[in-house]
């Protein structure tokens, strides 16, 4: 389940931050992506919500540490949706 999420996230990150060099890895975080600031973070989450048909709470959006944590959150939400 995890690999396809990373693949989708790479596409979303490239799209949102307009940079084709980005590759989603567990330790990738906002500091290492140009444009991933507080506004970029919201744009990223809204795009993930749209593509995965899930929804995040504001504290979840505001407290993101890295892509690894993001993937865990997506996985959890997707499994709740499919159950």
């Amino acid at each position: 389940m995890t690999q396809p999420i990373y693949k989708s996230l790479t596409a979303i990150l490239r799209d949102v931050f307009d940079d084709d060099a980005i590759v989603a890895t567990p330790d990738l975080n906002a500091q290492r992506v140009n444009g991933w600031d507080s506004l970029g973070n919201v744009r990223l989450f809204l795009e993930i919500e749209r593509r995965f048909s899930i929804r995040f709470s504001t504290p979840e959006i505001a407290s993101l540490k890295d892509v690894g944590q993001l993937v865990t959150m997506i996985e959890k939400k997707c499994s709740t949706v499919t159950q």
């Binding site: 307009d18 500091q31 290492r32 506004l39 919201v42 744009r43 809204l46 504290p59 505001a62 407290s63």
Partner: protein, 547 residues
């Protein structure tokens, strides 16, 4: 009591730190915690007085009950949790509103409505702006189940912990309390040495540099009015203030981090070379970091998320990179940025000058964010853009920040606009004394008289400003100097923004990856401490301590 005072440095700190380590090693960690709490309460009592302590303690104890209700209520008692959460947040806002803003509202009502309401005699509790925000963050963390348990001693210590009680950093419960609970420091002497290094750097910055350059700041503001200040006076004055507040807050932050570290506790990073920033967004990730984090989490992000969702429901466009519509930029960038920064301004002080400062930064952030999103449309080459905009972005950011400080420093909006007029040359170029000299035929008096007059008016201040600006931009900061000892909770070299992630070449050559705790470092730090101590006046307060 402030860090930069004789009683604090000579009596309070040595007793608090020595007592803590002795109790921690000789009796038990629990007793050491009680000692730390007692010291913190004494520090607060001496600094703010009994009334201040009574109000803060009442508010803190009310939140203790509410947070426990939120944590201990079963998930099915959603209504109970929600009620406790809302009461807690409202009570904190009401507390801040009453003590800090009552007279501001009365004054505004009098001038707008023409009423004659008398100002109330209200004592503002010490550090209220900081501990109210901290408790709101605590309630939010409890609400989102990030806090599992709450013990009274640690909770009180979290609120009153003296290294951060005057002016932050604004910390989260989970950042600080685990350090109190599982305090197992292997080498107290090392912690003490690192803490003393930070403290010495901070004392020097505050007492020698900030207070020193600060003497040039009032020139433009004290007599601002019709036709004053002239261009050169306005610029020397505002640049001096820009440096004064930088070294004041940087010095305070170092001393706060240093004092905590003397007790083996790491506080989060609050200040990270903000004048090296190459954009306004970058600036706010480096200046008062803990406040930016709070406002981003509890004001900016909820605003952008909710406004975006509402637009999606209404079928309107949201932000879509370089193809974003102007209506989306207005609603999703301008409104949240200006509202959040106006709130930030008001938080700094109950005056319209602070609101104006906040709104100006909101406008700066809007322009910066809109440009970042739309720029690839007009300027697609990222590499060339970054090469050009590195220096240009730095200059624009520094000038924008300096100009904004006019509102931060001015006693009223009228004098702020006079100083702004001076900055843009509307009041002539030189000080009146030089103009008079010119009119009365300075040429006849000879070049040396004219040059001396210029030197006395602007020369020394300009040399100080240029020198300090070079230090600010080229030198590594305190965190970088001590980077190998993790001087702040979340400080690693990798955590710095990419464009300026490495210390400058001079800094790197000078330090080669951070200063070791060697004899040479000890001598340098002792010199800095001595210079700072000798410059102590006993009357200088932290600018940020007034918020």
């Amino acid at each position: 009591m402030s860090f930069n005072s004789f009683p604090s440095i000579l009596i309070f700190l040595p007793i608090a730190v020595t007592g803590y380590w002795l109790l921690s090693a000789g009796v038990s960690h629990r007793f050491a915690s009680y000692w730390l709490l007692t010291c913190s309460v004494v520090f607060y009592l001496v600094g703010g007085g009994p009334w201040s302590l009574l109000i803060s303690a009442s508010s803190i104890l009310l939140d203790y009950i509410l947070v426990r209700v939120i944590i201990e209520s079963a998930p099915e008692n959603h209504r109970v949790r929600l009620t406790a959460f809302i009461i807690g947040v409202l009570a904190n806002i009401a507390c801040l509103g009453y003590f800090k803003y009552t007279n501001f509202f009365l004054h505004t009502a009098n001038s707008v409505l023409g009423t004659h309401l008398e100002a109330a005699h209200i004592i503002i509790p010490l550090g209220i702006s900081f501990f109210v925000f901290q408790k709101i963050a605590l309630l939010a963390d409890a609400w989102s189940r990030q806090i599992q348990s709450l013990r009274l001693t640690e909770y009180l210590l979290f609120n009153f912990f003296f290294p951060k009680v005057i002016a932050g950093p604004i910390v989260h419960y989970n950042e600080l309390v685990p350090q109190f609970e599982t305090h197992r420091v292997s080498c107290p002497a090392r912690e003490l040495a690192i803490g003393l290094c930070l403290f010495s750097l901070g004392l020097f910055k505050k007492c020698v540099i900030s207070d020193g350059v600060g003497v040039f700041a009032p020139a433009a503001f004290d007599f601002a009015g019709e036709g004053y200040p002239p261009l050169l006076t306005a610029w020397t004055s505002i640049l001096a203030y820009t440096l004064q507040i930088y070294f004041d807050f940087s010095g305070y932050s170092d001393m706060a981090l240093g004092t905590a570290r003397m007790l083996g506790v790491r506080l989060p990073m609050n200040f990270n070379s903000p004048y090296k920033a190459v954009s306004i967004v970058d600036f706010w990730n480096r200046w008062h970091i803990s406040l930016t984090r709070f406002l981003t989490a509890y004001s900016y992000t909820p605003l952008v998320v909710n406004l975006s969702r509402r637009r999606l429901l209404e079928g309107k466009p949201v932000l879509e990179g370089k193809g974003s519509a102007l209506s989306a930029i207005w609603t999703l960038i301008a409104i949240p940025s200006v509202l959040t920064m106006a709130l930030s301004g008001l938080w700094h002080g109950p005056a319209w000058t602070f609101v104006a400062w906040g709104v100006l930064h909101g406008i700066y952030l809007t322009v910066n964010q809109a440009w970042r999103i739309l720029r690839p449309r007009f300027w697609p080459n990222n590499l060339v853009y970054e090469r050009v905009m590195g220096p240009v972005g730095w200059l624009l950011t520094f000038l924008a920040v300096s100009v904004s400080f006019v509102f931060f420093r001015a006693p009223s909006l009228e004098s702020a606009f006079s100083v702004l007029g001076g900055l843009f040359g509307l009041n002539g170029a030189q000080a009146p004394v030089l103009r008079t000299l010119q009119m009365t035929g300075a040429d006849d008096l000879g070049l040396s008289v004219t040059l001396r007059a210029y030197w006395e008016a602007y020369g020394f201040s300009t040399v100080c400003i240029v020198g300090l600006l070079t230090v600010v931009v080229m030198m590594p900061n305190s965190l970088e100097i001590l980077s190998r000892y993790q001087p702040a909770l979340d400080f690693t070299e990798e955590s710095l923004p990419p464009l300026t992630s490495k210390p400058t070449s001079i800094g790197r050559a000078l330090l080669q990856g951070g200063a070791p705790l060697s004899y040479a470092t000890a001598v340098v730090m002792a010199l800095l401490f001595s210079a700072g101590f000798l410059a102590l006046t006993g009357s200088s307060r932290f600018l940020y301590g007034q918020f």
